[in-house]
Symmetry: C2
Subunit: 207 residues, 2 copies
Amino acid sequence: MAKKVLNRRERERERHRAEILRAAEEVFTEKGFHGASMQDIAEQAEFAVGTLYKFFTGKEDLYHALFLEKVRKIDALVGKGMDSETEPVGKLKRLIEVNLRVVEEYKKFFGLYLREIMGKFPVSPATQPQIRRLRNQIVKRVAEVIKTGIKKGVLRKADPRAMTMVLLGMLRGSAFIWVEGRHKLTLKELTEMVKKMFFEGALAEGK
Amino acid sequence: MAKKVLNRRERERERHRAEILRAAEEVFTEKGFHGASMQDIAEQAEFAVGTLYKFFTGKEDLYHALFLEKVRKIDALVGKGMDSETEPVGKLKRLIEVNLRVVEEYKKFFGLYLREIMGKFPVSPATQPQIRRLRNQIVKRVAEVIKTGIKKGVLRKADPRAMTMVLLGMLRGSAFIWVEGRHKLTLKELTEMVKKMFFEGALAEGK
DNA sequence: TCACACAATGAATCTTCATTCACATTATAC
DNA sequence: GTATAATGTGAATGAAGATTCATTGTGTGA
């Protein structure tokens, strides 16, 4: 019986932790790291400030935890997407689709995400290296796929690293511009455009 | 715009202002807006804190001034680059070249720049709209060039807005990835790759 | 029912700066 | 040379907000 009681407690605790993370996501995505106060987050979570410190050692730690949780989820989605195809071109198409779909799903979080992976000044020193490591796995995978595509003769002969850089840059950049705003474009249209441009380029046929 | 002739005092003052801006650039690019203190900047500039306030109304104002100065310079370069060509494809090529060259020249500043134009949470509320306005001019110009290219039949028939988005995204994103890091690629190689990819795509000939 | 472990609370504390301002220094005018 | 104006100074101020901790509340097992 003692064990069951403990379980209950533990589950409760876990739920509270998750609630705090949800609140933190809300507030951080709304106001950014520096604009968000622990007060804000506590209120959003309907806990007292002190309580947050029972779960996380501080503001940075909370941010860090939120970040890892999200990035893991995103990377898993992207990875699974690529797994679902066998041929290089198919894999790359899925990469583009999933990437942009994720952007939509995590639209609010995306602003934070990009600032963190892109800039220096990581909010928490521990966050960036971990995220980088996760990201590097994706980069390597994409480069590998492109290399295979070249070997098979379906992709143009060029430095795979550079192609990877351009492709990922294209995804990141256009997603950003899309999130930014005033677009009448649907995400679907953007996805199609990115695919077309990446594979076939901007020049008219035969030019 | 006859620049008013400045007497000794006024010139001195102008020089001091510029020195403070230089120091601010140093410190902000090093530590980011929130990581930089007025103390830091003052020390770097070899002035007392109080002095900074004789030139700028506050930290935000200083940041804002620095930003505008830089962005104006960058945009002028890009604009001039495009002016130097007459044909759409030539203009776009110049756009790519100049853009990436600027990235190299302003490498340190670039991190700040992107965070500011990209994210919400602008550091100073006044900065973002102004920068956006400047940026929009470039976007419009590029879209116009692309539209002309399509009309002339040298670019594929597609939504010019979307193409613009992808092209600018590609530039921004790949520049970022380049700045980020561990690249063996020279900027020249990256530039070539972006051009090739944008115009011709990734697929092998005849595929 | 009681006692006890654990969870939650939030006012009080501690830190970190941005900003100010009374004063000192220097340059210019007369 | 003295008066006046402009510049520069940096210790003192105040505000914001992260963190702590003494206290209060609650569910659990006897």
